[in-house]
């Protein structure tokens, strides 16, 4: 089979950043081509150019030998290029068929479309009811909606942006079977990921990007994961070390915590019971949208419960708000950095005040001590290597990784008794991720009980003493992390989430 798409010298610059510089490679028909790189390596910009969302500053693309320069996604779709986004571009209040119709140029009548959706979804082993409201679907099912939307247009090239980040290992298997069926029909797949093992199982070729440039091409099956990782990162990776001390007394205990989700399409928590001890890192895995946000909110005090469901050092705190909990030493860092953990338009000093006021003594009788607050912000910036001109800068002017270091640093420096973090290294480059994990381990070594909620299983396996998984608002049994197999973890995460397995 011949070359489907070829990229020559693609370059795109944004003010202050060069997203892509002189990137060239070819995608063959019927192959799964991996695009590998860290966050910020320029993968997203590159695929946006292929999909017509961003115009390259220079460089050419040819599709089957013809010049290809899509001005908008519509043109890309017309040329047979389809894309499944990492953050699904779905409309929660609309049903599956309506969502799919919106992604098509000339959709048939609703009834015919629904029939075709059923048809295609069964052919490729991705069963889906066209009349269900998307807001009620699980993350894996939502991804199916996106994939089927693409498949209905008979694409020649299917771009997939981090498709497995929302799936359990079992669901990943189903997806891979579907993708192999597609490549057998000659469809090319551009597969974006930073998960190396996955790429080694699935992909035929890999192009590796670093800082916007192509740094290499390889055949993943023939290279070790470690070699690929080093090409991707550019330096030898430092693995966090941990002291591995003995665990102390129980510091935080949840007993049969059930909470209704405050948002319409959220997940309610059902009967969560757990304990975490001094010096312990408890890792909580699970696919996105299975109650992670709600659990964090119930721990931070944003959602209140009956007093005895949350007990800290023997004291019932379920009915206490965030400030009172901070005073007692229960600190949290939510997943969403901008708008939840930090106020985007406020300065870093003001953001330091946001959670630091009680424990750092930044107020007296309600009056604020700005000098002391600025010093606290400066301390966070210095100790956590936050790259910013100074504490007067707005939170949104920081890159994702730097802001995350600030947010984690803000809580860590307050010496919590219990620290709960949600997705501590999401969207953070490898070096920053390593330093964040190290900070969490150091904190545990100092006697803090740490709960890490994350969707990155590798991360959890690396730092956790115990592991549990959230699945549809329920928590699995908590087991020692050492010695758990991928299959066991997958089952803890809910297996294939009740989705039918492919009948291929």
């Amino acid at each position: 089979m011949g070359t489907l798409l070829s990229l020559r010298g693609l370059t795109k610059a944004y003010p202050g950043v060069i997203a892509n510089s002189d990137v060239s490679f070819d995608i063959q028909e019927g192959e799964v081509h991996a695009l590998l790189g860290e966050n910020g390596a320029g993968k997203s910009t590159l695929v946006k150019m292929i999909y017509g969302l961003v115009k390259p500053d220079s460089g050419q693309m040819t599709l089957r030998g013809q010049p290809y320069a899509p001005a908008e996604p519509r043109m890309a779709r017309a040329s047979g290029v389809a894309m499944v986004f990492q953050h699904f571009s779905l409309f929660e209040a609309l049903n599956v068929a309506e969502n799919i119709a919106l992604g098509m140029e000339n959709p048939p009548k609703m009834r015919d479309l629904a029939a075709r959706i059923k048809d295609v979804s069964e052919t490729y082993g991705l069963p889906l009811d066209p009349y269900r409201t998307v807001g009620d679907l699980s993350a894996g099912e939502r991804q199916r909606v996106e994939i089927i939307r693409c498949l209905l247009q008979d694409p020649r090239l299917l771009i997939m942006d981090e498709p497995t980040s929302v799936l359990t290992p079992q669901e990943v298997d189903i997806l891979f079977q579907t993708l192999r069926k597609l490549t057998a029909e000659g469809v090319a797949i551009l597969y974006i990921s930073h998960k190396l093992e996955e790429i080694r199982t699935l992909c035929d070729t890999a192009t590796i990007l670093r800082l916007g440039k192509k740094v290499g091409t390889c055949i993943p099956r023939e290279v070790s994961a470690r070699d690929m990782a080093e090409m991707m990162v550019g330096t030898t990776l430092h693995v966090p070390e941990r002291a591995g001390g003995d665990l102390g007394p129980v510091l935080l205990e949840l007993t049969d915590l059930s909470v209704k989700s405050p948002s319409e399409f959220g997940t309610s928590l059902k009967g969560i019971t757990l304990q975490v001890r001094s010096g312990e890192v408890l890792g909580l895995g699970g696919v996105a949208g299975n109650g992670q946000d709600e659990l964090l909110a119930a721990l931070s005090g944003e959602i209140l419960t009956t007093p005895n469901t949350v007990v800290m050092e023997g004291q019932p705190i379920g009915a206490l708000g965030p400030t009172a909990r901070r005073k007692l030493g229960l600190l949290t860092a939510p997943e969403e950095r901008l708008g939840h953990a930090a106020a985007p338009d406020m300065s870093l000093t003001e953001n330091a005040l946001l959670t630091g006021s009680v424990r750092q003594g930044l107020e007296s009788n309600g009056f604020l001590k700005w000098t002391k607050t600025r010093e606290f912000a400066e301390e966070i910036i210095a100790k956590f290597d936050v790259r910013t001109p100074g504490p007067g800068n707005a939170a949104r002017s920081l890159s994702g990784g730097n802001l995350q270091k600030f947010v984690i640093g803000r809580e860590v420096l307050q010496l919590p008794t219990v620290l709960v973090v949600n997705q501590p290294t999401w969207g953070v480059d490898a070096a920053a991720a390593t330093s964040i994990r190290q900070a969490l381990l150091d904190l545990a070594a100092g006697g803090t009980a740490v709960i890490v909620i994350s969707q990155d299983l590798d991360e959890l396996m690396e730092i956790s003493d115990h592991f549990g998984a959230l699945n549809e608002g329920r928590l699995s049994d908590i087991r020692p992390a050492r010695g758990l197999t991928v299959d066991e973890i997958g089952l803890m995460m809910g297996g294939a989430h009740g989705m039918e397995v492919a009948h291929v």
């Binding site: 003010p15 115009k55 931070s300 005090g301 944003e302 708000g321 965030p322 400030t323 009172a324 901070r326 949290t332 939510p334 969403e336 901008l338 708008g339 939840h340 953990a341 930090a342 106020a343 985007p344 338009d345 406020m346 003001e350 005040l353 946001l354 959670t355 006021s357 107020e363 309600g366 009056f367 604020l368 800068n393 707005a394 949104r396 002017s397």
Partner: protein, 361 residues
Amino acid sequence: MIRLEKRPQPSQLWTYLTPVLAVLLTMIAGGALFAFLGKDPFEAIRTIFWDPLFSEFAFYYRPQLLVKGAPLVLIAIGLSLGFRAGIWNIGAEGQYIVGAICGAGVALALYPMEAFWLFPAMVIAGALGGMLWAMIPALLKVKFGTNEILVSLMLVYVAENLLASMAVGLLKNPEGFGFPGSRNLQQYPSAHNAELITGSGMHWGVVAALIAVIFAYVLLNRHMLGFHIRLTGEAPRAARFAGVRPARLILFCLGTSGALAGMAGLFEVSGPSGQIGIDFGSGYGFTAIIVAFLGRLHPVGILLAGGLMALTYIGGEIAQSNLGLPSSAIQLFQGMLLFFLLAVDVLTNFRIRLTNKAEVA
């Protein structure tokens, strides 16, 4: 082609420049409007902005500046607290009216008793009246999640009808020969909000406005509650994470703005206006919205903006009598000011880039 590019952080410079730019643009557009109405635009602009301050008769107009500016600043300060937190009280006009009715009601009930404590009691009654009126949307929002914009506005119409009924009913002057309207408080020494220095225009309302400015400044810049107000407006989720209780904040912001508007109403009814009449509602409650935005929701800015808006009121009246400029033209002029301000505000958060069309295509 014009393209907007988000700034990494809000521009300090433009924060201060946009109100000035908006005023200039309004003068240009207003001048064009006046020219269209057949008036000399330069003379009209001079009459509105210059004459009240520096003309031959300025000694008469300057005190008026304080009289008109004080209620605007007082109300706008209260509104700005809520606006900062994303709580939209647009019914200040109603709270102003109810404050006036309550405050005047105390005086009229005790007439003709003279006592030193009467005026303070009226101020408290006025503030309470405005606050209670604003508590209606506040409590409905907290209890049922009802939209405070619509409720507070509906209550303006209710208050206007209440005012009318008071003017012809309960508070009607028994010695008024059957005309609508209450006794004139200017002729009731204990209840009269007189000028503190004769001929200066300075009455208790002006003092209250200045105190409110200082209070709001300290609150917003030095106090946790003010920090929480700003935080709630900028990032509501982060505010809840920080421990802010939205319900309390709603009650505080609406209650305070209602109390300030009620006080403004009381100072007006016991001073410059003198009586509860059908036409007491003067639109200050709505103009104060413009003042709050023009002052960038900042206490000092509001003080300046209140002065400027008072100037357009007085200048407008002069232009009305000297040039025959219709009063509605001034109303339109004020509306334009808010428009231009909102339009140029984009410069604070965005950079404007001119891109070559050829390059885009």
